[in-house]
């Protein structure tokens, strides 16, 4: 295999379906999450939330709180220490908590109560008396009082875009058009583990255990806000119990825990309640998207317009890039336009949620494509093949690799798509239920953030060689520990069992955010570079021995293999790693250079490509005739994500994403009271997600090749792509079963019962 980098080409055990290295510890309850940090004498902080959605705090009486037994401190906007709002890019909100008396949304933190026990803190928090001057809240995209913004787009690429002349193309003769509006509600991440922080100060240094997707970003943000140097802050996060984006940016509670710890001079533990998870760490905003498609008689798209609206609080920073994440990239069309609009509402701040933009965007676009296929009397797969893009429509750059056609082919074959009768309502289950088959394309970009990693080789007491890889990255529960253990083993040519990987500590070589499905790709690249440095160090030491079989070779000319460092072109020429390490320092390490190729500074050859993953979902639903409740019977998902390091953990990512997408399609919606703006279903009994009996057969397959133009490992990441397209595939299947097109998620019984 050709290698596009300076590292040794990836060989086994990469690609093995390994069990998780932390699996046993997890199921036996032995891993330590943030709230369980082994910190002695921690006291407890409880957040008090605003009960109104808009207005101003006019008075706060904390006297009885302060007098309540066990209370150590009460932080309110009045006595909150002044912190610096700097390094805006790390913050989820445009404002620091308790910074002013303004109320932007219900659930906003308005005070922190610290007491010696959780119970006393909780009780005392109920004694706070707050008076507000209330204003009528702005709720929903349709609220005429909402301030409207048309963002340009910084991270996402242009958000207001037009290429060619969409209107002219749409009015061309013989053009078949579809124009429809699709909407998705606010969805809340709801990972199992609630966000939590344990913070303590020691000799002016701050240590924070935080449930986070980015220990280094936390470290930088905390240092900046508290006026410290980064090395005066340490952030630890060995395990995360799920995140999906809600632990990506810096949310206010982490600052509050650190400020509270400073105020009381003791370690402080703060955990959001499940209720606060609905307002304190973001959600996917509501979206409303109008798609206009125009196609010629062969189904070729002559024009595509994607107008997208989403909302956010006045202090939020999120834009849901629906069109930029889908229509910009998926189908070849000479005339393309997309716009994005944000309404400012008095709903808690929004944020990234698994495939932000791509997910609601593909729901809308892939639903519209299904409607177009029906208008053209074309098979939905055929329509997509006709519109295959070999380059990204918005920037004209070819995809580094694209195997979406193979995704369609294999998916259709595994699913049995050829047996589909296109007539809606024509297929039945043995029990008489209506059966529907639908499909949709999945897509997600490849991201890679700057990362550093190190690999150390050392001798055991028994003389065996061990490797420890490390990076300040995170394992969100996805299997990162396992995959990086595999990668380390591969890069140093040692058996899996002799390798360990460390992460989740800002003292380790700085890693990037675990978001954008970028962890494996980014850290993998860094590790491959670190392995190069390690070869260099090992070779240097080996060559210190006179008569070394490696004499005269450069680092590029050697590889690690079978516990030895050997000449790449002659593996019989080499030395045992143990022999090189013997009598030397405790370990020999390789650490890659800071700030290697990241998203912003790709090498020139990479600037010539668009790096994008594609896939396809095929779905069967059953809908009872009398009780129109949709059940997903089976899903076949085929993904091309470049190299798959561990088919087991990667398959789980796609499966989990499909399940989450099933919830999005059929169940999930955060409801707000239309008068108060408070969340009505802020618990896991009322915010319904899929449970085991909802999940029947989900088959996942991977196709494609290593994307070695993208990074040395050839992987593009797999955490998010599975949740793109799946809601559309289900909606399309529901249409096929019932002849009813539901254009507003979730597809609940009442929507299928609406008069047509």
């Amino acid at each position: 295999m050709a290698s596009a980098s300076d590292s040794s080409p990836p060989v086994a055990p990469v690609g093995e379906p390994r069990d998780r290295v932390d699996g046993r510890a997890k199921v036996t309850g032995r891993v330590v999450y943030a709230a369980e940090a082994p910190v002695r004498n921690a006291v407890h902080a409880v957040l008090v939330s605003s009960t109104i959605a808009r207005g101003e705090i006019t008075a706060m009486d904390a006297a009885s709180v302060e007098r309540s037994p066990g209370v150590l401190a009460v932080l309110t906007p009045k006595n909150m220490p002044k912190l610096e709002y700097v390094d805006a890019k790390f913050h989820a909100e445009k404002r620091l908590p308790l910074g002013d008396l303004r109320i932007y949304y219900a659930g906003q933190h308005i005070a922190v109560v610290v007491a010696d026990t959780l119970e006393r803190a909780l009780y005392a928090s109920t004694l706070l008396r707050v008076s507000y001057r209330e204003e009528p809240p702005v709720l929903g995209l349709g609220d005429p009082a909402a301030k409207i913004e048309w963002p340009k787009g910084e991270m996402t690429g242009p958000l207001q875009f037009e290429k060619g002349d969409v209107d002219a193309a749409l009015s061309g003769t013989g053009v078949v058009t579809v124009k429809q509006t699709y909407s998705t509600p606010i969805e809340t991440h709801n990972p199992m583990e609630m966000s939590a922080t344990v913070a303590y100060w020691e000799n002016g240094k701050l240590t924070v255990w935080d449930s986070t997707q980015a220990v280094v970003n936390r470290q930088k943000a905390l240092a900046a806000v508290f006026g410290l140097k980064p090395d005066q802050v340490r952030v630890l996060c060995p395990f995360v119990g799920g995140a999906f984006g809600c632990k990506g940016d810096q949310w206010p509670h982490t600052f509050l825990a650190a400020a509270a710890a400073q105020a009381v001079g003791k370690p402080v533990k703060l955990m959001l309640t499940r209720q606060q998870m609905f307002t304190g760490c973001g959600h996917r905003p509501v979206t409303e998207q109008t798609i206009t498609l125009g196609a010629d008689g062969q189904g070729r798209l002559v024009a595509l317009r994607h107008e997208s609206k989403s909302d956010d609080s006045e202090v939020g920073k999120h834009i849901e890039p629906c069109g930029a994440g889908s229509s910009a990239i998926m189908y070849a069309t000479p005339n393309l336009a997309y716009t994005h609009r944000v309404s400012r509402t008095n709903i808690a701040s929004a944020t990234f949620m698994r495939a932000p933009g791509e997910n609601p965007g593909t729901y809308a676009l892939e639903s519209a494509m299904d409607e177009l296929a029906i208008a053209l009397k074309m098979d939905p797969v055929e329509l997509r093949l006709v519109n295959y893009a070999d380059r990204a429509p918005h920037n004209g750059l070819p995809f580094s690799t694209s195997n979406v056609k193979e995704c369609y082919r294999l998916g259709a074959e595994k699913f049995g798509w050829s047996r589909r009768n296109p007539e809606p309502g024509s297929m039945r289950a043995p029990d008489g239920a209506r059966v529907g088959w639908g499909m949709a394309t999945a897509t997600y970009p490849a991201h890679r953030f700057p990362n550093q990693a190190r690999i150390r080789l050392m001798l055991d007491r028994d003389g065996g060689v061990r490797a420890i890889g490390a990076a300040a990255t995170q394992d969100l529960g996805t299997g990162a520990y396992t995959v990086f253990t595999q990668m380390t083993a591969m890069l140093v040519g040692l058996p899996f069992e002799r390798v360990k990987f460390e992460l989740g500590d800002s003292n380790l070589p700085p890693g990037g955010v675990s978001g954008g499905s970028a962890t494996t790709a980014g850290v993998g690249q860094a590790m491959s570079e670190a392995a190069g440095k390690l070869r260099q160090a090992m070779l240097k030491r080996a060559q210190e021995n006179s008569g070394s079989p490696l004499a005269g070779l450069t680092p590029d000319q050697v590889v690690f293999q079978g516990g030895r460092i050997v000449a790449a072109n002659d593996p019989s020429r080499g030395v045992e790693l143990s022999a090189v390490l013997k009598g030397g320092p405790a370990y020999i390490e390789g650490l890659n250079e800071a700030n290697p190729a990241g998203a912003d500074n790709l090498p020139a050859k990479q600037k010539a490509y668009t790096f994008q993953s594609f896939g396809a979902h095929f779905v069967e639903v059953a809908v009872d005739e009398r009780l129109p409740i949709v059940r997903v019977k089976r899903v076949v998902s085929v993904m091309d994500v470049g190299r798959v390091i561990n088919p087991k953990t990667a398959g789980s990512q796609v499966q989990g994403a499909v399940i989450m997408g099933m919830g999005q399609a059929l169940l999930e919606e955060t409801h707000y009271d239309p008068r108060t703006g408070r969340v009505v279903n802020d618990n896991l009994a009322d915010y319904v997600v899929c449970v085991n009996p909802d999940v029947r057969s989900i088959e996942t397959y991977f196709v494609g090749e290593p994307d070695l133009l993208f990074n040395a490992i050839g992987c593009r990441g797999v955490g998010e792509i599975g949740i793109t397209g799946i809601a559309a595939a289900i909606a399309n299947a529901v249409y096929h079963a019932t002849g009813r097109r539901v254009r507003d998620l979730p597809i609940t019984a009442e929507k299928l019962m609406r008069p047509a």
Binding site: R120, R626, I629, R631, R678, V680, N681, A685, V688, M753
Partner: protein, 328 residues
């Protein structure tokens, strides 16, 4: 701190005696509902009297046939009891359609009968709610009310009674056995609940301090032909959007007698008398089932978000009737 004391009573009479004393008392069984309410600030008892040690955890055969189910028999034990599975399948099915295995292991018979509504405005401890705070209003009326009731409502309260088990028990002519300081009494389960009239806080005829000791099920042969059907958004672990419990006495192609009750749509476990009357004496056809459902649902009152429940309930009941009629 809202402190409370905890008393583990060893005898029913001891529990009754413990009821009187300083501070508001409450009986504690599995705690799956009561402890939630304490944590949510909806209820603040000062003395918890644990009733799980009163020797009321047996399911016994009654001398004249039928079963006596002790108040603290767990929902799990009841659902898997051989006699229940054979003679009252609707009860087992109803229980197993509810909650989760962990919850059913902890939840008890009496606790299930007395569980309170899941109305989120009741549970938020904050919104106007006549059930939580008499006379404060009803936030659900003009709020988000998708899961609220369409039968037995008033302009004071539209909260759904959430139980599955109780709906099945109503179809089985269950009788509740109560014990108070002045002795024992029995109340048919269908008279035990009151629709929310003047005071939505009053949900049943239980007197303060009265203890539920057992529920009796009579021996009625045709109750073996019974069935529970529950419609909900996801396939498990969710309260009913609509449910129907049905028992049919089918002979010579006619419905001689029947019991029908509805769940998830009413302010109490809803004995569907109108549906029963419409069905009795008819042939078990789709048409008759529809007529029965229509008879019951003609009085349903929809609100902003729950109108679909009427149609859903119609389908649920027809489905339950059809399946029950087809049972061997």
């Amino acid at each position: 701190m809202n402190n409370f004391s905890y008393i583990l009573a060893a005898q029913p009479d001891e529990a009754l005696r413990d009821w009187t004393g300083p501070g508001r008392p409450a009986y504690l069984a599995g705690g799956t509902n009561l402890i939630d309410h304490i944590k949510l600030g909806v209820d603040q008892p000062q003395r918890l009297i644990d009733v799980r040690n009163l020797g009321l955890d047996q399911i016994e055969a009654l001398p004249g046939g039928g079963l006596r189910i002790g108040a603290t028999v767990s929902n799990t034990a009841l659902a898997y009891d051989e006699r229940v599975l054979k003679d009252y399948p609707v009860l087992s099915q109803a229980i197993l359609s509810g909650a989760s295995p962990q919850l059913r292991n902890a939840a008890t018979t009496a606790g299930n009968l007395l569980q309170r509504t899941r109305c989120s405005y009741f549970r938020d401890g904050l919104s106007p709610c006549n059930k939580r705070q008499t006379g404060s209003g009803c936030a659900a009326l003009g709020g988000f009310n998708r899961t609220h009731a369409v039968l037995g409502t008033s302009e004071r309260c539209i909260a759904t009674h959430p139980s599955d088990m109780d709906v099945a028990m109503i179809t089985l002519d269950a009788v509740v056995r109560l014990r108070g300081v002045s002795g024992e009494r029995t109340v048919p389960l269908q008279d035990f609940y009151v629709a929310y009239g003047e005071d939505p806080a009053k949900e049943n005829v239980l007197k303060p301090g009265e203890l539920i000791t057992a529920v009796d099920l009579p021996a009625t042969e045709w109750f073996a032909r019974s069935y529970y059907f529950k419609a909900r958004d996801r396939a498990s672990y969710e309260f009913a959007l609509a449910s129907a419990a049905v028992a049919l006495d089918l002979r010579e192609g006619l419905v001689r007698d029947c019991r029908i009750a509805l769940g998830g749509v009413a302010t109490k476990p809803w004995r569907a008398h109108a549906a029963e009357n419409a069905l009795k004496g008819t042939r078990p056809t789709e048409q008759a089932f529809r007529a029965a459902a229509n008879a019951e649902l003609s009085s349903a009152v929809p609100r902003a978000h729950n109108g679909f429940k009427i149609e859903l309930c119609r389908g649920t009941l027809m489905q339950a009737l059809q399946t029950t009629a087809a049972l061997a």
